[in-house]
């Protein structure tokens, strides 16, 4: 989230699209009801189904899954054509005026530089014209035909209300009503918030779905302001923490990058990470990259990381592919190229697409270790449960080790919520049986492994034997020790560069925050963006002061938000060019002539003159990007592509299947279905009564939503002679499941490109273990393809067929 859960109460319009906040985030949704009750805010829901969120909305419109970009580009077009643009904001705070290279264009559904063989673009032309002074050329009058604004106008021109209706199935009148409601938020005193979740990310164009809404929010002037923002509602209490701490194959903590094999040494790695400002006087904060990277290396390897060995750069793995995401790992596993797999707090057998492939892959492992507080289907993938898990146990040789762990209520630590708040919690119970903390398990394994490497050597033992591990009990680092290491400390006395007699931080003391980190090896920090979480003031994540001066919803004394306890990102943009709040009744910060101050931590240097320094300090331009240069693989503007499995062709260019640069493994190509064979558009989702595959173990949750079902319209039910509560079989090119039929008015056929599209909704909470009745999940059916930029599986849009059937059999074959 750019903003915080508590900030939603400040909005005038909530748009829930690509998510179902009331259903999946009922507790956070209270802030929507607050905005409605206290500010008269309106709620719009756009979704293939009339959801629980829709049930309390002011306006609902249906949309076919996977067509959000068409819808949003249509709204952008509407706002531009009807002059519903926050012009001062757009001109000053976006790259609307930047001139783009002549080579760049978009035609027949493709941008310049497409290579069909490689399924990739040469992105050289997707960039600004750079002037002789080394800065990007701009035209503040927006008259230049090649400026971003004019290219954007041209790009969205095809997304007319008629086009939106044809592609999305959203009736034109409903679409236009939503355009009107959104356009009202282009004034500086009305704001809209976007709440989204996996309904946008789990698509082959997932990242571009979010881009499209971000662009709309920018031209409405809704980023950085109270009640505005792009608010990703994370699907797990600590999934924000997972990405922050770099639990991605291509990241190290704090959104730094794992080097690629092309970056053989530290020099070549840093050469593309200088981040020089693209406009005069801009902050371009990533210029500090080296400080954060070196401090991370020092946290990892301590004394073994020195200037003369490039801070142990060679210890880092080097990627030979863009990422080892879950799809790639299971592809490799299925090819027999992975021997062992540690599965910590994860249930891939029910989570990842194409379950048959997941089962096949796990069966090829030599060993599998699962670490989980609960029994998982993954740890029992080899066990035959009749139709529910019809495997040949005898033929599976994988050795499975189940290590029971504690759950969140049995351990201390911090959870990072959607609003980036690191909230410390304390153990509320003692672990049952043999359950151990994850840190204990990892610590015990590490000390044993290190001993083996010490004794036996190996090809390259250095990164293991030299790992800094100075915890009081090496077998179990405490949460406090880890949190302090993440915050970082001075290794030597840190002296004031302007007065070397003055010691800012004595050796061994915690740094105040990341502003004190250095690139000369005198500081360490495990994750720079979290720095400030646990400094000499104590554990700031454990703070529980709920005072809220100005009633802004910032609650600066409550826990700690990264970065620097800032609650609203880009909050400098809540003020005009001269530093005055756009809406004085919703002030966050303000320029008083000499400095910035207010109710939140300013997202700008405290003394940066408002006319000189742009608000988007992480960007080299100092402004936000409507045109994202070459930073995304599939285009600098979002463009309409169909899902890989779609009931209709891409109307812009019928030859393009899915996202043209999304990675597809050769083995999976033959496993995509067509609408001739699989006529119905399936989607997957969560229900309020359950949390993923956990709560089916709990009798209360199981009683409230006992058994697997799929949702279909009354029209489809009539067509296929399916009865409410009867058994149906649903199958795709990859698998087949059985479920109870929930026949509903909340799903209606959509008219898309002249044909009726029926939606089949498949919730995801059932498996073959637990208190609830046995069932399946949508992943048995979903396709093995991900987003072009970040490989999130396309679990929200695929094709199935459906028919009435008989109950499943539990009989073991």
């Amino acid at each position: 989230m750019t903003n915080a859960w508590t900030d939603i109460k400040n909005t005038d319009l909530v748009v829930v699209m690509g998510g179902n906040a009331a259903e999946a985030h009922p507790c956070g949704f209270k802030w929507v009801t607050e905005a409605k009750a206290n500010r008269g805010a309106k709620l719009i829901v756009v979704d293939p189904r009339y959801t629980r969120t829709a049930s309390v909305s002011d306006f609902y419109a249906p949309i076919r899954q996977g067509t959000d970009i068409s819808f949003l580009n249509g709204v952008i077009k509407y706002c531009i054509e009807n002059n519903k643009v926050q012009w001062e904001y757009t001109k000053a705070f976006t790259n609307a005026s930047y001139i783009v290279k002549d080579g760049f264009s978009y035609q027949d559904g493709l941008f310049t530089g497409y290579d069909e063989e490689k399924r990739d673009y040469d992105r050289e032309s997707w960039d600004y014209v750079i002037g002789d002074d080394g800065f990007a050329v701009v035209d503040p009058s927006l008259q230049h035909p090649r400026c971003v604004w004019n290219l954007l106008k041209e790009h969205v021109a095809i997304y007319t209300p008629e086009f939106v209706e044809r592609v999305c199935g959203t009736p034109k009148a409903k679409f236009l009503k939503i355009c009107e409601m959104i356009a009202e938020c282009s004034t500086p005193t009305k704001t809209m918030t976007s709440l989204y979740a996996l309904g946008w990310t789990q698509h082959s164009s997932g990242a571009q779905n979010i881009r499209a809404m971000a662009m709309l929010q920018l031209i409405l002037g809704n980023i950085g302001v109270q009640g505005g923002g792009m608010n990703a509602l994370r699907g797990h209490s600590n999934i924000q923490g997972l990405t922050d701490l770099g639990l991605m194959s291509n990241l190290i903590p704090g959104y730094l990058n794992i080097p690629t094999e092309m970056e053989e040494n530290f020099g070549s790695y840093m050469s593309t990470r200088q981040f020089k400002p693209l406009r005069p006087g801009q902050t371009s904060y990533w210029q500090n990259y080296k400080k954060f990277f070196v401090s991370f290396q020092k946290a990892m390897w301590g004394n073994a990381a020195q200037a003369d060995n490039d801070w142990a750069y060679d210890y880092l793995p080097k990627l030979d592919v863009p990422s080892y995401d879950v799809l790639r790992i299971f592809e490799l596993m299925n090819e027999g190229r992975v021997n062992g797999y540690f599965c910590q707090g994860f249930n891939p057998l029910l989570a990842f697409p194409n379950r048959a492939k997941i089962t096949s892959a796990l069966s090829k492992l030599k060993w599998l270790v699962t670490m989980d507080p609960l029994e998982t289907e993954t740890s029992r993938f080899w066990e035959n449960h009749g139709e529910y898990n019809d495997v040949d146990t005898k033929s599976i040789q994988t050795e499975v080790f189940q290590l029971p762990t504690t759950c969140f209520a049995e351990e201390a630590g911090s959870l990072a919520n959607s609003g980036r708040w690191l909230q410390w919690h304390w153990a509320g119970g003692t672990p049952p049986g043999e359950a151990q903390h994850d840190t204990w398990i990892m610590g015990q394994i590490f000390v044993r492994l290190r001993e083996l490497y010490r004794k036996e050597g190996g090809a390259f033992p250095d990164p293991i034997v030299n790992l800094a591990w100075d915890y009081k009990d090496p077998g179990e680092p405490t949460p406090e020790e880890l949190a302090k290491e993440i915050n970082g400390r001075a290794i030597e006395d840190l002296r004031d560069p302007t007065d070397v007699t003055k010691v800012l931080v004595p050796a061994g003391k915690q740094v105040l925050n990341f502003s004190q980190l250095r690139d000369d090896g005198t500081t360490l920090s495990g994750c720079w963006i979290y720095s400030g979480n646990f400094n000499e003031n104590g554990n700031n994540m454990a703070r529980r002061d709920n005072h809220d001066p100005g009633d802004t919803g910032a609650y600066l004394g409550w826990t700690f938000a990264w970065p620097l306890n800032r609650r609203t990102l880009y909050n400098r943009a809540s003020c005009d060019v001269n530093g005055k709040p756009w809406d004085p009744t919703r002030k966050i910060i303000e320029w008083d002539g000499t400095k910035w101050s207010g109710f939140d931590v300013p997202d700008i240097a405290p003394n940066a003159k408002p006319q000189d320094v742009g608000p988007f300090i992480m960007n080299q331009e100092g402004v936000s990007r409507l045109f994202t240069r070459g930073l995304m693989r599939d285009g600098p503007f979002p463009a309409h592509y169909e899902p890989f499995e779609s009931p209709v062709d891409n109307v812009i260019n019928p030859k393009i299947r899915g996202n043209p640069v999304a990675r597809v493994f050769q083995n999976d190509v033959s496993q995509f279905g067509t609408s001739a064979e699989f006529p119905y558009a399936a989607t997957s989702y969560r229900l309020t009564e359950h949390f993923h595959y956990w709560t089916k173990h709990n009798r209360v949750n199981a009683a409230l939503q006992p058994e697997f079902f799929v949702e279909i319209s009354e029209e489809l039910a009539a067509e296929k002679k399916i009865e409410r509560g009867g058994w149906v079989r649903v199958w795709s090119k990859r698998g087949s499941i059985k479920a109870k039929a929930l026949v509903t008015k909340r799903i209606r056929p959509l008219m898309c490109d002249g044909k009726a599209v029926h939606v089949v909704g498949i919730p995801l909470h059932w498996g073959f273990i637990g208190a609830a009745k046995k069932g399946w999940g949508p992943n048995s059916l979903a396709p093995f393809v991900g987003d072009a930029n970040i490989e999130t599986p396309e679990s929200k849009a695929f094709l199935v067929n459906i028919e009435p059937t008989t109950p499943p059999s539990e009989v073991v074959a």
Binding site: A22, E23, P26, C27, F29, K30, T33, K36, A37, G40, Y50, R52, T53, A54, S55, V56, D58, Y60, T688, E689, R699, V700, N701, A702, A703, L704, Q705, P706, E707, F708, F709, E723, R724, G725, G726, K740, A741, L742, V743, T744, K745, R746, A771, A772, K773
Partner: protein
């Protein structure tokens, strides 16, 4: 400072000082099958739970909290193609979200109406009036209608007496169960578990007066959003209730999973009331043998079809049936 005689909200934390329970025998204003109840020594402030249907997202946190607080064990049933689970109120499920898909004929828009069903705690409680067993159903001066299980004979008359079809007879102990408005929590200064668990404050709790004021604000908001018939459901046919609804369409309560448009105690039950005294006396006569008798029968005493027919005959000429 004087401690209020009942909690004013469900959101507050429990009081830290020891608190004398404030729902005692002295606070009863009605007691089933008891003609000579001494007047209460004090009048407690009337409390109420307000359920704002327009704010409810159907998350079932209230059902979950109800199960946890009352330590019940509802069955894990089959899915029959609806979101309402369990399928009905049971002796182990005192409250239930009932989901209705309703197409508004005026706008042709679908509305998903989600109503939390459960005991309404009527000011004029049909269950209590129908109950033949002395002290099995009581009403406190704060408005809470409670079942006292040690006095319950499992006859099921309360089921017939209830205009909202709420009480359920347990198949395990053959006693009647329903929402208590968390009388055991309210007695010690805490609001009902469901209201405390509700994430959107669709369920709130306090004095009946405060709840009516709060409802007025909500109704004004709904009217501003185009719900011209938004209103408070506090039906006069049972002299008002201590569980009230804010409905977007208060002109037609029945669209909310058959919420009665004009609930009143069935005239059949009013007639039983006469019979009850006589049956009640008979029961008292066999009081000593009561538990033995119950053990022999081994099943709940129910209103038999013959009983019902007989009662109906008595009121033949009064065709008012409850909606």
């Amino acid at each position: 400072m004087m401690r209020p005689d009942s909690p004013r909200t469900a959101a507050a934390n429990p009081p830290v000082q020891p608190m004398e329970t404030n729902l005692t025998e002295r606070d009863l204003i009605r007691r089933s099958a008891t003609s000579s109840l001494p007047p209460p020594e004090r009048q407690l402030t009337e409390v109420a739970k307000l359920i704002d249907v327009s704010k409810c997202i159907g998350c079932k946190a209230c059902q979950s909290a109800c199960i946890e607080w009352n330590d019940t064990n509802p069955a894990i049933e089959e899915n029959v193609g609806v979101y309402t689970n369990p399928h009905d109120l049971t002796a182990d499920m005192y409250t239930l979200m009932r989901f209705t898909e309703w197409v508004n004929p005026e706008t042709d828009n679908l509305e998903w109406l989600i109503r939390k069903d459960g005991c309404m705690h009527c000011s004029d409680p049909g269950c209590l009036k129908a109950c033949p067993s002395p002290g099995a159903i009581v009403q406190y001066s704060n408005g809470i209608v409670d079942f006292v299980h040690e006095n319950c004979i499992g006859c099921g008359y309360c089921v017939k007496g209830c205009p909202f079809n709420i009480p359920r007879i347990s198949k395990v102990d053959h006693k009647a169960y329903k929402c208590t408005l968390c009388s055991d929590r309210v007695a010690v200064g805490q609001g009902p578990a469901c209201a405390k668990a509700c994430p959107t404050k669709a369920i709130v709790f306090g004095t009946k007066e405060d709840m009516k004021k709060h409802a007025d604000e909500r109704i004004a908001d709904l009217k501003s959003r185009g719900y011209a018939n938004a209103g408070l459901y506090d039906p006069p046919g049972v002299s008002g209730t201590h569980v009230m609804y804010v409905l977007h369409h208060n002109d037609k309560p029945h669209i909310y999973a058959d919420l009665p448009d004009n609930p009143r105690i069935s005239p059949v039950v009013e007639t039983w009331k006469g019979v009850t005294k006589y049956v009640g006396l008979a029961f008292m006569g066999v009081a000593a043998a009561g538990s033995l008798l119950h053990g022999i029968l081994g099943r709940p005493n129910r209103v038999t079809e013959e009983d019902e027919e007989a009662a109906e005959e008595l009121v033949e000429r009064k065709p008012e049936a409850r909606v």
